[in-house]
């Protein structure tokens, strides 16, 4: 039989049509897709021995205990430790996804420590270039003492804007919270929720936050009037009466259902005085306790606040933002720097914070890559000492801030965390909880070696109860934000947000508006309409200090005439509490 060209076309067409009626082409498409999943360079879950390791989360000073499920050396799942006396098995969404952070795409990975060291050394040797200072955004750590010792040797300043007060919620029967996100990341989540059934919560806040929604009473207040409310309540307590009915009602509740406690975000003098009059000082409100340190460390520079410093006096500023509990707006720092060529070096995990203003941004390790102790939490009246034990190795090129600053001052190299652990053991007080066996022992019953071994395996030392030291009033970090007029009144989100958060968490947690993302603002629908903005639109937030690019969420829960702003450093640089702000479309 002779095959014609037409026959070949018919044969080929028939074969193609027939092939489409078989699984072959569809199977090949699927298999090719699956094959591409395993190309070199595409990450794959590790295979290996499954084991459990323990650490303490260092994303905030709550320092919750963490049980990590590891495959080989790779942590693949984090969970709480139920028997832990402080964190009680709870982890916040940041903590649950902390093991993603070493792989964060926005992570700072490069920076020349040698160049920075050269510039700093040159500035120090230049007598006319101002003093050296360290800004420590999480004071109370062992590295904080290293900074203080280094500054003492270099005649420098140690700036620490941290928490100076600790609270005992378990002793309180009534809590008045002035905008504090008490039930949303303020303290140790497990500890706060364990204490919650024991106190009545009055939440005074401009917006019905999640804490306000879960409080017994929500008092809507104008942004920036929290101190006024505190003064009115103090007045009502003192005079047994007053003009402000709401303040009188709260005063009666605080005095009749004690012990009472008043919390605020800024440690204002009015709130401190109110706590004094309620008898909270030295009882439910105590001076922030700290774990013992070696006696030789005591010759260290004292903590200074920005407000106490002379303007244009700092020539070299070293900022440790590898662990962050708060953020000082740049406009409060900049006036303290000398006018001519100040050297600013920041140790950071990302470029979003002070790296925007620094000559040198040096990459620092992120949780859970490095060993570091965690200072006592705000809701712990007894001192604690925990170490965030590394679960993964840091990548090459990371700079250790304590090593950098210690070398600058010529401090001898030593294991400072171990030295401090020995000092705690020598003090012989308190108890030690070990997560692996969930046992608690008295420190005096174990050797220094056993104490260190347990701490290295995420053990938690808790000092004896009985801290009755009343806190001292602290000077404010900066001048109060001028109230001004016109525009929208800013409500600052008070929740703590780490510099880096898991991209997966931000996907499921923030894009669904469960929590305002750091670079977002929220507007009432009428204000959004007036500004011609839709949900998700890009806009500028403008204040007298400048403007910042933001994304807009339209939220009817935000009162008209107000704007709720996120906690991104870019926003905090231009916008403070109760600031007057405008929102304009891009």
């Amino acid at each position: 039989m002779k095959l014609s060209r037409r026959d070949l076309f018919i044969y080929a067409g028939g074969s193609a049509a027939g092939a489409l009626l078989t699984p072959a082409p569809w199977r090949l498409i699927t298999d090719t897709a699956l094959w591409s999943e395993n190309w070199p360079g595409i990450p794959a879950p590790p295979r290996g021995e499954i084991r459990t390791r323990f650490t303490n989360c260092s994303l905030c000073r709550a320092g919750c205990a963490v049980r990590a499920r590891c495959v080989g050396d790779q942590p693949v799942q984090l969970a709480g430790v139920a028997a832990h006396p402080l964190s009680r098995g709870a982890l916040c969404p940041f903590g649950l996804t902390g093991h993603h952070l070493p792989f964060h795409p926005a992570r700072l990975k490069q920076g020349s420590a040698e160049q920075a060291l050269g510039a700093v050394s040159a500035a120090i040797s230049d007598a006319g270039s101002g003093r050296i200072a360290v800004l420590d955004l999480r004071p109370g750590r062992t590295v904080s003492w290293t900074y203080r010792r280094a500054m003492a040797k270099l005649n420098g300043l140690y700036i620490a804007p941290g928490q100076s007060v600790a609270y005992d919620l378990h002793q309180a029967k009534t809590v008045l919270s002035l905008g504090v996100p008490l039930l949303d990341g303020w303290g140790t989540p497990g500890n706060v929720w364990a204490a919650r059934p024991g106190f009545r919560l009055i939440q005074a806040e401009p917006i019905q936050s999640r804490t306000a929604a879960l409080a017994d009473v929500w008092l809507p207040v104008q942004p920036g009037t929290e101190d006024t409310l505190a003064l009115a309540i103090a007045n009502a307590i003192e005079n047994r009466n007053g003009d402000d009915e709401r303040a009188v009602s709260v005063a009666n509740e605080l005095t009749q259902n004690g012990p009472a406690l008043v919390l605020d975000n800024y440690g204002s003098a009015a709130v401190m005085a109110l706590n004094q009059s309620l008898g909270a000082a030295g009882h439910t409100m105590v001076a922030m306790p700290e774990a013992p340190v070696p006696d030789t460390w005591r010759k260290a520079a004292p903590a200074t606040s920005l407000a106490q410093m002379e303007d244009r006096s700092i020539g070299v500023l070293l900022i440790d933002e590898s662990a962050v509990d708060g953020y000082l707006p740049w406009h409060t720092i900049e006036p303290k720097l000398v006018r001519d060529n100040p050297v600013v070096v920041t140790f950071a995990s990302g470029r979003g914070g002070y790296a925007r203003h620094a000559q040198f941004a040096l990459p620092a390790g992120v949780y859970p890559e490095f060993a570091e102790d965690i200072p006592t939490a705000v809701d712990s009246p007894a001192a604690t000492f925990r170490i965030s034990t590394p679960l993964v190795a840091p990548p090459a090129g990371m700079v250790n801030p304590a090593g950098f600053i210690g070398a600058l001052a010529g401090l001898p190299k030593s294991d400072a965390v171990r030295e401090r652990a020995d000092a705690i053991h020598r003090a012989g007080r308190g108890t030690l909880f070990t997560p692996a066996d969930a046992k608690t022992v008295a420190v005096r019953d174990i050797t220094a070696e056993a104490f260190w071994k347990s701490l290295s395996e995420a053990g938690c030392w808790i000092d004896e109860a009985g801290n009755t030291q009343a806190p001292e009033a602290q000077p404010p970090e900066s001048e109060p934000w001028p109230s001004g007029s016109g525009g929208l009144v800013a409500i600052l989100s008070a929740q703590h947000t780490p510099p880096l958060m898991s991209p997966l968490m931000s996907k499921v947690y923030q894009e669904s508006n469960l929590r305002l993302a750091p670079n977002w603002i929220a507007l009432h629908p009428s204000d959004a309409r007036a500004a011609r903005l839709e949900n998700g639109a890009e806009a500028f937030l403008q204040t007298r200090l400048g403007k910042c690019g933001v994304r807009v969420a339209v939220d009817p829960a935000v009162p008209a005439g107000m704007v709720q702003v996120g906690t991104a450093p870019g926003i905090l640089d231009v916008c403070g509490p109760a600031a007057r702000a405008k929102v304009v479309a891009v």
């Binding site: 092939a19 078989t22 072959a24 094959w35 499954i50 499920r69 499921v508």
Partner: protein, 170 residues
């Protein structure tokens, strides 16, 4: 067209899959029947709840340190694996792609599903069938021939259980 249909339906399985025998002639029927073992005697859970999957040599050696019967398969197993302490390179029929996570304990302990619900009569087979590996993707043929994602979803719908992408796809 007929040629293509024949090749596609009849020839594809031979061309696409590579067969290889399991290292040891193992009878689930003997172990589950005559020996009276239960599934979780060998395929159990670790203390953290993770599934052990195919047992390691240590588990087998617990019973077969010395011969329990007279079969050639057992003698071969003891001589070639138990005595030299050589781990058999079992091929797991149901190993899922790396982006799929399946929790056995959630289904067996909380959902109270029987093993047979998903693994059908695998526990009563007299011998292990050859493992068929997809030449292109490298995965077992069973992940497509056995239970598929649509089966998981159908069961969850039938039971009135919630399900979402991130439950299984990490």
């Amino acid at each position: 067209m007929l040629t293509a249909l024949g090749a596609g339906w009849g020839g594809l399985p031979f061309a696409l899959y590579r067969s290889r025998p399991q290292p040891v002639g193992f009878s689930h029927r003997v172990h589950a029947g005559e020996a009276g073992s239960k599934c979780d005697d060998c395929h159990g859970f670790r203390s953290d709840g993770s599934f052990t999957g195919i047992p390691t040599l240590d588990k087998c050696a617990g019973c077969h340190a010395a011969a329990m019967g007279t079969t050639a398969a057992e003698k071969n197993f003891i001589d070639n694996y138990i005595t030299p302490r050589r781990e058999p390179q079992w091929a797991a029929y149901a190993r899922q792609p790396e982006n799929v996570y399946f929790s056995h304990i959630a289904h067996v302990k909380r959902g109270k599903l029987k093993c047979e619900s998903c693994h059908a009569g695998h526990g009563s087979t007299g011998q292990l069938r050859p493992y068929q590996e997809d030449r292109i993707s490298g995965y077992s043929r069973d992940i497509w021939r056995g239970k598929k994602m649509t089966d998981c979803v159908a069961c969850h719908l039938q039971q009135g259980l919630e399900h979402s992408c991130l439950d299984c796809h990490k």
